[in-house]
Amino acid sequence: MIDLILTPFLDFAFMRRALLGCIAISIGATPIGVFLMLRRMSLTGDAMAHAILPGAAVGFLVSGLSLGAMTIGGLVAGMAVALLSGFVTRVTALKEDASMAAFYLISLAGGVLIVSVKGSSVDLLHVLFGTVLALNNDALILLCSITTITWFALAVLLRPLVLECADPSFLRSVSRLSAITHFAFLALVVLNLVAGFQALGTLMSVGLMILPAAAARFWAQGIAGMIGVAVLVAILSSVTGLLLSYHVSLPSGPSIILVAGALYALSLIFGPHGSLMARYLPRPHLQS
């Protein structure tokens, strides 16, 4: 048993790199996922992932399979969509979901257009669905740096962020930090999605951001507890997914996300807080 778990990582450097990359994403992206969930913005993560595509595509067209160019392109496109939609939300009558949807659809269409005009050459999707098995040193350094930045930023933003989750209008009435907090948080979302797309591809990286957070909701009630459980779930999914990919010969990205999905389903049924079992199969009260 221990052999089955340890040998792949002991024998192969690419497995160790994949593991390190996944752990970095797990630690960085899942707290973001928890806050997204608490602010009822879980689908925003998905929208932002689509918004990043055209930037990465342009980066790829300009300088090929270069980590730097694709990262910067993704960041620029993601930040543009986040800032524009946030601006529209705060200045006009349009609500956040609608403005976000509008801008990410425009961005996505732009990306598809760019890829199609480029036409016959390399299939960009093949590149955009990055593979966790091919992380080089630069990509690992990028992933770990983004995780570090995320945690420092969260440490600074924690108070206003929690207030934004609980009562955004209260925060807006007592402090001017509301807008800053909101945009800084969106920047963190973009940053972590860009990190994730190096390893898992843009669409899969959302899975590792949201699914562990949703699972953690059933296990803990405080924010700290939720983040802790979410990170554990994400790391467990990464390890199990990689091992499945190794032993059963499945593509690694989807298997990691599907393990996270399975853990979510289990939490949904068996978790102690608000799960199916807690709601509909309550334990008998203690009788005196």
Partner: protein
């Protein structure tokens, strides 16, 4: 890369007026660049060849454009590789309402079946085995053997003569001249391979397109990915490959012009094999590249292979 894209675009642009204004030439369409080159050799001055998937393009997963449909609709003959290589082409021909002949260049070629054994846990990958993805177990890359290319030439010649009987003599002469060139290239390749020691004839490439090449010239190609560029490799595939490369001391790894190179970098870092250069499999390079024509491509591939394996 940028320069190559630019060149590809300019050639594509340059071709548009050519096919539009060259009324006296027979307009024909070839599905991808390698086939286009062979058709151009056989057709010579009498035909104007348009190629749908240009140099460096991946014909496995090509998205046709409306311009392609127009090109096909205006053509007198359409040449395809067949063996399920161009999955998108049937729909394109249907959509363009093209009614003329479709010449399958691989007619008469015995298709290579890809081995269908799965890799169960603990079972090492067998040499030359590849996972079967998308092509229904058939290997479409028949042009990688020059013997097959001669059949391509015969099929193309027959197709052109059927569409343009007046040019029969020209086509026959062009085909004969081209066959001589193919023979010369084949002799070169056989000599080059004969000079390699028997234990230095296996390499790894990122795309398993060299089944016919391997069978015809007695080499072994291992691939980290399956037959098609569409599938994402699993950790088991990569681990098996690394184990095998270490066990058999495979000396060289080759990049291709069309697939993700990051995976190969990881494998070379882990095994210490050398990166041998670029092999061209599914597409020609731009006109200034090392694989500007089909025969140049074959010569370039064998030169690159032997250079890496001799060292």
């Amino acid at each position: 890369m940028n320069r190559r894209i630019f060149l590809g675009l300019t050639t594509a642009l340059a071709m548009l007026p050519l096919s539009a204004f060259a009324q006296d030439k027979l307009p024909v369409v070839a599905s991808f660049s390698i086939l286009g080159d062979i058709v151009a050799e056989v057709g010579g001055d009498r035909v104007a060849v348009s190629t749908l998937v240009g140099p460096d393009g991946d014909a496995h997963v090509y998205e046709p454009t409306p311009a392609d449909a127009q090109t096909v609709a205006a053509a007198k003959v359409v040449f395809v590789n067949g063996l399920e290589f161009e999955g998108w082409l049937d729909r394109l021909i249907e959509a363009s309402e093209y009614k003329g002949p479709v010449v399958v260049a691989t007619t008469g070629i015995e298709p290579r079946e890809m081995a269908e054994e799965g890799h169960e846990e603990g079972e090492a990958k067998v040499e030359g085995e590849a996972d079967d993805h998308g092509h229904g177990g058939m290997d479409p890359h028949a042009w990688q053997s020059l013997a097959n290319a001669k059949l391509y030439v015969a099929n193309i010649e027959a197709g052109l003569i059927a569409a343009d009987p007046e040019g029969a003599a020209t086509y026959a002469a062009n085909a004969a001249a081209y066959l001589t060139e193919i023979d010369a290239a084949e002799a070169e390749i056989l000599t080059a391979i004969a000079a390699l020691p028997a234990d230095r004839r296996s390499v790894v490439t990122s795309h398993d397109a060299f089944g016919y090449f391997a069978a015809a010239y007695g080499m072994t190609f291992h691939a980290p990915e399956g037959l098609s560029t569409e599938a994402e490799p699993s950790a088991a595939d990569v681990a098996n490959l690394i184990t095998q490369m270490k066990a058999e001391a495979i000396p060289a790894v080759f990049m291709e012009n069309i697939t993700d190179s990051r995976l190969l970098e990881q494998i070379t870092a882990e095994t210490g094999a050398s990166v041998g250069g670029t092999l061209f499999s599914d597409a020609l390079s731009g006109p200034d590249g090392p694989a500007s024509t089909y025969l140049n491509m074959m010569r370039h591939n064998i030169a690159t292979l032997t250079a890496a394996l001799e060292s």
